[in-house]
Amino acid sequence: MNPFWSMSTSSVRKRPEAEEKTLTGELRTSPPRASAKKQLPSIPKNAVPITKPASPAPSSQSTNGTHASYGPFYLEYSLLAEFTLVVKQKLPGVYVQPSYRSALMWFGVIFIRHGLYQDGVFKFTVYIPDNYPDGDCPRLVFDLPVFHPLVDPMSGELDVKRAFAKWRRNHNHIWQVLMYARRVFYKIDTTSPLNPEAAVLYEKDIQLFKSKVVDSVKLCSSHLFDQPKVEDPYAIVFSPWNPAIHDEAREKMLTQKKKPEDQHCKSMHVSGLSWVKPGSVQPFSKEEKTMPT
């Protein structure tokens, strides 16, 4: 049943050269991480989204003081920080990638590995309000409306609000939204549904519900290779398995565990020294033999 697909941000190749350079530059700076656990290539951890506030703020005059102009930086770094938190969470089966055009829009895909929605692969987009983190909670919209009590059958939007009635900075983070999006497929909640049909079926006729879910999962899978809804270089694109491209990538992933230090041949640069014995707070407490060479 499962197509032998792979996911990649293959659209990278379509981008102009200059941008590609930056991306690879970015990739380089992020050390290979423990992605071996996962089945899929890790998304670029450090891709830098751009700042594009939806509402053009009144352009501040230069005479108006410099700090007036730092707003975009704060927003951008807030979102970057959120993104690094997502990466750190390593939510099973959930992948996101900020859009190239706006840091406020993230592309994502969720893999359901067991339960009613097993084998489901649902692409979605997260929309973050531009007054983040002081605004409403982010919206999460599935590309195709999944048959689910909490997913709007028309728009595909997930009812995020019920979990984050009020978005509180410092307490709420975007990874929680993603975790919530994953959980709804494992633990189904039917109270005040956006899709009453699904809710009722789940309560009254679980068999029919199940078959509808299977249909929905199939539908999503059949559209997997479609072009992304939004045209964006960082949009998540699926393509059939192509050994020419993917074999090598898979190989890389499986052998990625090498310490990056090994590749770094001894440089002349002296730095990063320590003679402190672990557990000690005394300088030069390390035994002679364990001295760094």
């Binding site: 930056t22 423990a34 410099t66 730092y70 900075r169 020294l273 320590s274 707070v281 005394q282």
Partner: protein, 1007 residues
């Protein structure tokens, strides 16, 4: 007489033996030898009784010479078939021809010329022969005899030739280590030193010029050989003076370095390669240091350890330590600059380690070098700049031990913050709150002038490409994806700061992977910190091969922490006590304005006790009055000494003596037994010693006590003024008659005369109202430091020293203190408006370097503006706020502030251009390519390519606001720097917020 070597090479050019029948050659060789032998035997006293010693007719000598030349030529050209010797070589070996020839040259007068001749002959044989010669004893033996005959006194010409030959031999040995055996064996016959070619090279280690270089290269061959050959390593370590010569040679060379550097202008702060290449003495020293570095890199661990030990005990401790404590500011400054240069030039961790160990743990006259260096930051001289540069180097090493001693040890207990804040240490600033707060400190008055903002798409585009170009040259950046929206003003330079911040943090993260702990408020555990220290301290005495006096942890013996803590706990940790106030315009030192803090606690104790201020003022005024013009170092000495008084205040001399004795003994024992092998023995020695010491120190302590009583006793009230007056009188008297070198000696005297007085002053200041006997002090002290039973009960093999420690530890637990370094840097920073531009650049460089460290303890202390600290602890943020107020105040009283600011900004931009070129010169030897050739520069010079357009093509060489009085000029420049500094810090805070996840992520992978 023509030398053999040259004539042969002449022949060789003409003749080629290509294709000549080997047998013919053999026949020619034999007939030549027959001729030679005839003459040789004629003059051999054993064979010819009539032969007269020394009287050889010149014609016969030249005949031999000619024949030999031809013979050698034939021998060199002989091609060996398979592994066996060629017939000529075989003949040479069986007839022992080489030895006979050597004896012949001995028989004639063995002049330098003949020596050179022979040396050249062998060099040619060895390097040009087609078959290996050295395997044959009949060739090797006369060679060794020749070499040993050349040892001892030789003329430069012979030496040069000798070293060339030795160098060749070494390179052959390095290629074919099997020959090495032979060199050892043959020397048995000699009875002389075992490994002759090695021993012969040793005297040339420190030679300058080509000879020295060749000798060092040759030795390096042997050194790399030793790494794999234990016999060689053992021999060198045990039977030769290689290591001691190398190490003590450094001392010798150091002593010939200039003690005073020529005037470099006030911008100068460290020795760059261009500087030291101009000084032959320094070049020579650097060559030797480089050689040590190379030896340590390639040699066997045995040799490495021994050498490192000797450098420590034979150079750093006996030479560098006193040099760092010379009398004049000038000398001390020079030494500091040297030390900085050495640190930057040493690349081998083992060597760097002892330099750092020396700086961090060694005590000179009972004060840690580190503390002395720290205290100098607060001097008003160029010395401060040089010291700052040294610290910049130290911090740039990203060495855990350095950071531990300098900063982290004071932060580990976490008592600089409110208890509730401990959890916040690891917190990250998701929403750039800290960055926003830092940037909000930008004084309103500074936002005029040059602001580098983008407002239109067109401009954005132009500047954009520029930014991209810079970026390419420094490998990839993140900004390029950040497209600035049309019509929106964005600070361009801030992008550059972000990029640099990211670079710095990533580099630091990478380097800190080898660190032993996270320093995140949990590891090391704040609560067990003291305990661990105590345990380690007791252990320490037993183990290390250095037998150094370990720094008793958390006890900062010098200036900043005074043992008399009752007073101190009320004060800020501020180290104003030796801010002499000489720095420009600060004579009227106003109380620190903390208006915006609204914290009254902060305001109270901002200044040192009145009488100390008075003392300082008096001293300064007297000095200024007497010698207004820059009277060289006289006033420096005075003030500097007064500044450093506190260093000496902690004068538990008993300890010093103990250590001295111990050290002497150590050195002795080490010269006898080399290095670590002797450990067990040494330990015994030490044990014995500590017993002896304890009795010894008791005596001394008593003596001390008496002295103190005397010093303090007489009329405490009157003691405040005499010191400076005396000083003045003394100075005046001496000055009339001083000249030349006597100066130093006399100043020493003056200082000594001053000392007792000032020492008592110290005691005064420290707040014991009347004379107090040390015993009482101790008691008070104990009362104060209540709760460290575990530490107290510790046994102390070193007696007094250990006694000292627990109390200090206790103190550090109860009286929040972020360490002398932080406090002195922050206090200096607070005076930003009075500091010269260069001091500020270095300070800013150091603080940004510190703020690049990923350790949560450090990051939270410096960059988290939401942390709540103990009232006595000042944060960077508070200091910055204070500077902001000062700038705003200054702007309000200075008439044309906006105009001046603009000029200052233009000047700073102009500097970017020039310093950009200078940047390339800052190659710092071979190390630390990116440890920021100056973090000092990154500020305000941050984005050269971007900033240039504003300069109008650097056409006008705007000089640094020439017309202004110094204090206005400094203040304006500081005001121009300040907003840039804030941006730099904010950028670091922002980058930390997105990079800090890497710490855990990566460590997980590693551990």
């Amino acid at each position: 007489m023509m030398s053999t070597g040259t004539s042969i090479s002449k022949n060789r050019q003409a003749v080629s033996l290509q294709g000549v029948d080997p047998e013919t050659c053999m026949i020619v060789f034999r007939t030549h030898w027959a001729q030679v032998l005839k003459i040789l035997e004629k003059h051999d006293p054993l064979k010819n009784t009539q032969a007269k010693y020394g009287a050889i007719p010149p014609d016969e000598a030249s005949t031999v010479q000619n024949y030999v030349e031809h013979m050698l030529f034939l021998m060199i050209e002989e091609q060996a078939k398979d592994a066996s010797m060629g017939p000529i070589l075989e003949f040479v070996v069986s007839e022992n021809i080489m030895e006979k020839l050597f004896l012949w040259s001995l028989r004639r007068e063995f002049t330098d010329e003949t020596k050179i001749e022979q040396l050249k002959m062998y060099e040619m044989l060895v390097t040009q022969s087609h078959q290996p010669l050295l395997h044959h004893k009949p060739i090797l033996k006369p060679l060794m005899m020749l070499l040993s005959s050349c040892s001892g006194t030789a003329t430069p010409a012979v030496e040069a030739e000798l070293v060339v030959l030795l160098n060749q031999l070494c390179s052959i040995i390095a290629k074919d280590p099997s020959i090495l055996e032979l060199f050892f064996h043959t020397s048995e016959d000699q009875g002389a030193a075992n490994f002759l070619i090695f021993s012969l090279l040793i005297p040339f280690i420190h030679r300058e010029g080509r000879v020295g270089q060749q000798a060092r290269d040759a030795l390096l061959f042997i050194m790399s050989l030793s790494a794999e050959n234990n016999v060689v390593a053992n021999h060198i370590a045990e039977n030769t003076y290689f290591c001691p010569v190398l190490a003590t040679g450094l001392s010798g060379l150091y002593s010939s370095l200039p003690t005073k550097l020529e005037e470099k202008g006030d911008e100068w702060h460290c020795l760059l390669k261009d500087d030291w290449l101009l000084s032959p003495a320094l070049v020579q020293f650097m060559n030797s240091l480089e050689f040590c570095n190379a030896v340590i890199q390639v040699a066997h661990p045995l040799i490495r350890n021994q050498l490192v030990n000797y450098i420590y005990n034979g150079f750093l401790v006996p030479v560098m330590a006193p040099a760092l404590h010379k009398v004049t500011v000038e000398e001390v400054m020079t030494t500091t600059a040297y030390l900085d240069l050495f640190l930057r030039s040493v690349s081998e961790p083992a060597l760097l380690k002892i330099f750092l160990r020396f700086i961090l743990l060694h005590r000179h006259e009972n004060v840690h070098i580190l503390d002395t260096l720290t205290s100098r930051i607060n001097t008003p001289f160029q010395l401060c700049v040089v010291s700052l540069a040294l610290f910049r180097t130290l911090i740039g090493l990203h060495c855990e031990d350095v950071m531990l001693q300098l900063v982290l040890r004071y932060l580990i207990p976490c008592n600089h913050m409110m208890l509730s804040q401990r959890l916040a240490v690891k917190e990250r600033d998701c929403y750039s709150v800290s960055a926003a707060k830092l940037l909000a400190l930008t004084p309103v008055c500074c936002s005029t002038g040059i602001t580098l903002t983008l407002e239109s798409q067109e401009k954005a585009y132009i500047l954009w490409t520029k930014a991209a170009q810079t970026k390419d040259s420094c490998r990839g950046t993140s900004e390029s994806t950040c497209i600035v929206e049309c019509g929106r003003a964005v600070d361009i330079s801030y992008l550059q700061y972000l990029w640099e911040a990211q670079e710095a943090i990533l580099q630091c993260l990478k380097d800190c992977k080898v660190w032993s702990a996270f320093y995140d408020g949990e590891n090391p555990d704040p609560d067990t910190f003291i305990q661990t220290l105590a345990e380690e301290n007791s252990k320490d005495v037993e183990h290390p091969m250095f037998h150094l006096q370990q720094r008793t942890p958390s006890m900062c013996s010098s200036s900043q922490i005074t043992p008399f803590s009752e007073k101190m706990q009320l004060e800020l940790e501020w180290d104003d006590s030796y801010d002499t106030g000489i720095s420009a315009g600060s004579d009227v030192s106003s109380p620190h304005p903390y208006d915006d803090q609204g914290s009254t606690e902060m305001q109270l104790p901002a200044e040192p006790p009145k009488h100390i201020q008075e003392m300082k003022k008096n001293a300064i005024m007297l000095i200024k009055g007497s010698y207004i013009e820059e009277s060289d170092f006289q006033d420096d000495v005075m003030v500097y000494r007064l500044c450093a008084q506190k260093d000496a205040q902690d004068d538990d001399n008993s300890e010093k003596k103990t250590l001295n004795v111990a050290r002497k003994h150590r050195v002795e024992s080490q010269t006898v037994n080399n290095g670590p092998l002797a450990n067990s023995q040494l330990e015994m020695d030490l044990d014995e010693h500590s017993k002896r010491n304890s009795s010894l120190t008791q005596g001394i302590t008593k003596e001390q006590t008496n002295q103190k009583m005397i010093a303090v006793d007489p009329q405490p009230d009157l003691e405040l003024k005499p010191a400076p007056q005396d000083a003045d009188r003394n100075l005046n008297i001496r000055l009339l008659s001083t000249d030349g070198e006597d100066f130093i000696a006399q100043y020493d005297k003056i200082i000594k005369e001053l000392d007792p007085n000032s020492a008592s002053l110290e005691e005064q200041k420290l707040g014991t109202p009347g004379p107090v006997s040390p015993a009482e002090e101790e008691e008070d002290f104990e009362n104060f430091s209540a709760d460290t039973p575990s530490a107290e009960s510790m046994s102390s093999p070193f007696g007094p020293k250990e006694d000292f420690f627990p109390k200090h530890a206790a103190r550090s637990q109860s009286a929040p203190f972020t360490g002398p370094f932080i406090s002195v840097v922050l206090s200096k920073l607070e005076n930003m408006l009075e500091n010269s531009l260069h001091v500020n650049l270095l300070l800013i460089g150091i603080i940004t370097q510190l703020a690049s460290y990923p350790q949560p303890l450090l990051r939270s202390f410096l960059l988290n503006t939401n942390m709540v600290f103990q009232p006595s602890v000042r944060s960077l943020y508070q200091v910055l706020a204070s500077v902001k107020n000062k700038i705003e105040h200054f702007a309000s009283i200075e008439k044309d502030f906006p105009g001046l600011l603009l000029q200052a900004q233009q000047y700073l931009l102009f500097r970017v251009d020039t310093s950009d070129a200078a940047e390339e010169l800052l190659t710092k030897g071979n190390i630390q390519p990116d440890s920021s050739a100056g973090k000092g520069r990154s500020l305000s010079e941050a984005s050269p390519a971007i900033l240039q357009p504003f300069l109008g093509h650097k056409g006008k060489k705007s000089l640094a606001l020439p017309s202004l009085p110094v204090h206005v000029r400094n203040a304006v420049l500081a005001a121009a720097l300040f907003p840039e500094f804030l941006k730099e810090l904010a950028a670091l805070a922002q980058e930390h917020s997105i990079l800090c996840y890497k710490i855990l992520g990566d460590f997980e992978d590693y551990y």
